[in-house]
Symmetry: C2
Subunit: 236 residues, 2 copies
DNA sequence: CTCATGGTTCGGCCGGGACCGAAGCATTGG
DNA sequence: CCAATGCTTCGGTCCCGGCCGAACCATGAG
């Protein structure tokens, strides 16, 4: 008898994620921004009442959190742990049944650059991970990585301060579902996205997880991180 | 419109895990050993027919794999990715709703030492992680870690060969659900368990994930890894 | 105050799927 | 060849839970 209580707890969480409407809502929230109930309803393609019911259940289970603002209610993922679990499920789903695997996002903009919870994904995310790895600034293991001493200095020069992270790099990897290769997540991934947004290298787009790369970004990423000139071209 | 195809794929996987009977089966398989259909049925407390149906669905989705042997059919998790996803869900479930959280395993033997898929968990797993971290043999980040040069030599001396892992440490952490602290998983974790089993330091117990620590193990762990004398006493 | 908008609650409908009894295959042993 | 064991397939029941229409609150605007 392995502990059946914990198995049942897993089942409850998984059952919540295991509904198409709720999964679509959670996937939308993986974009990293808080979304209003109505937006989530349209993402999931269900009516407002139905969405409300789903959101109440997700809220009750602490999978999401809510913030009231005027007559809107903005929902977001309750914790990075939730995002991590969704990523792991995504990896399983992508690797699993070969028959009906989604051929990745149709939208070219999404393949190029998008947000993934709180960091960058798509070819941009992968190019950054490759560049940092190639420059010996980070070392990637399976599922995670560490920042080297040189890498810490390098990032500090660029202007990315890994606050207080004396010996705790907070660097994780996340399997990119369009490119099937790992990109940077975790604390470092979030810091990179914040930095790129602050410098105006990328802009969020409304209604999509796609990131728009500005002209300054085209130069900035190449100059600062040493990305190859042709990093934006499809598939490595 | 974020990609709804991938969200639906997640939903299908999560829905499979999100049933109490199937979750219990998968949790049992997290012990790392292949189990026969009948054993899984009793773990899940359902009839053989019901279990068979569940197993067929899990098999169809490539969450588990089967090996026929005589008139038995032994099922196991299809990949470490599956185990990883289950771990992540377990972490969410444990951190989630405060009301009905399972107070951890009642069984003292499980709290002391048990298998977690292919590595060691419980106070033993945590003590090993702490000792290796304290000795600067590994460095843990959130969710992963790297082996230092000294650590590689140290492990090699003990007799643990990290075959071909030149610069790829294959070292992950896994949140221990009884102790709420990370223990070692990944390639290194599996190697440690294999080593302990080979030396006769621990033995698998039938019908449970608990690991029995032999007298040789009591000495071996302390001598080889420098565990504190009182590592087995409850909570650090 | 009154209306419009965003969101939630209530009630009833309905389908998917979990469950078990019974029967049907395979494999091993006598 | 027959019996026992382990597992799967079939058929039928039943209930959980997703869905929407309608009505009900809350907030902000005129």
């Amino acid at each position: 008898m392995t502990n059946i209580a914990s198995a049942n707890a897993i089942a409850q969480v998984a059952a919540l994620i295991g509904d198409a409407a709720r999964a679509n809502m959670l996937a939308a929230l993986m974009g990293g921004q808080a979304l209003a109930a109505g937006e989530l309803a349209s993402h999931a393609r269900v009516s407002a009442q139905t969405a409300s019911g789903h959101l109440a259940r997700l809220l009750d289970a602490d999978l999401i959190a809510v913030e009231k603002q005027g007559r809107h209610r903005y929902y977001r993922l309750a914790s990075p742990q939730i995002a991590h679990a969704l990523e792991a499920l995504m990896a399983v789903a992508a690797a699993g049944p070969k028959r009906h695997r989604p051929p990745g996002p149709r939208d070219e903009a999404l393949r190029l650059a998008r947000t993934c919870y709180d960091h960058m994904a798509g070819r941009l995310g992968i190019a950054l991970a490759d560049a940092l790895t190639g420059g010996d600034h980070i070392v990637l293991a399976d599922g995670a990585g560490l920042i080297t001493e040189g890498g810490r200095a390098f990032l500090c020069d660029i202007g990315i301060d890994l606050a207080g992270a004396s010996n705790r790099p907070f660097c994780r990897t996340c399997l990119d579902w369009s490119e099937r290769r790992p990109h940077l997540a975790g604390h470092l991934g979030a810091a990179l996205l914040a930095h790129a947004l602050a410098r105006g290298w990328v802009r969020r787009t409304t209604g999509s997880r796609a990131l728009a790369i500005t002209p300054a970004g085209r130069r900035g990423f190449i100059d600062a991180f040493g990305l190859p000139q042709d990093w934006a071209s499809p598939s490595a």
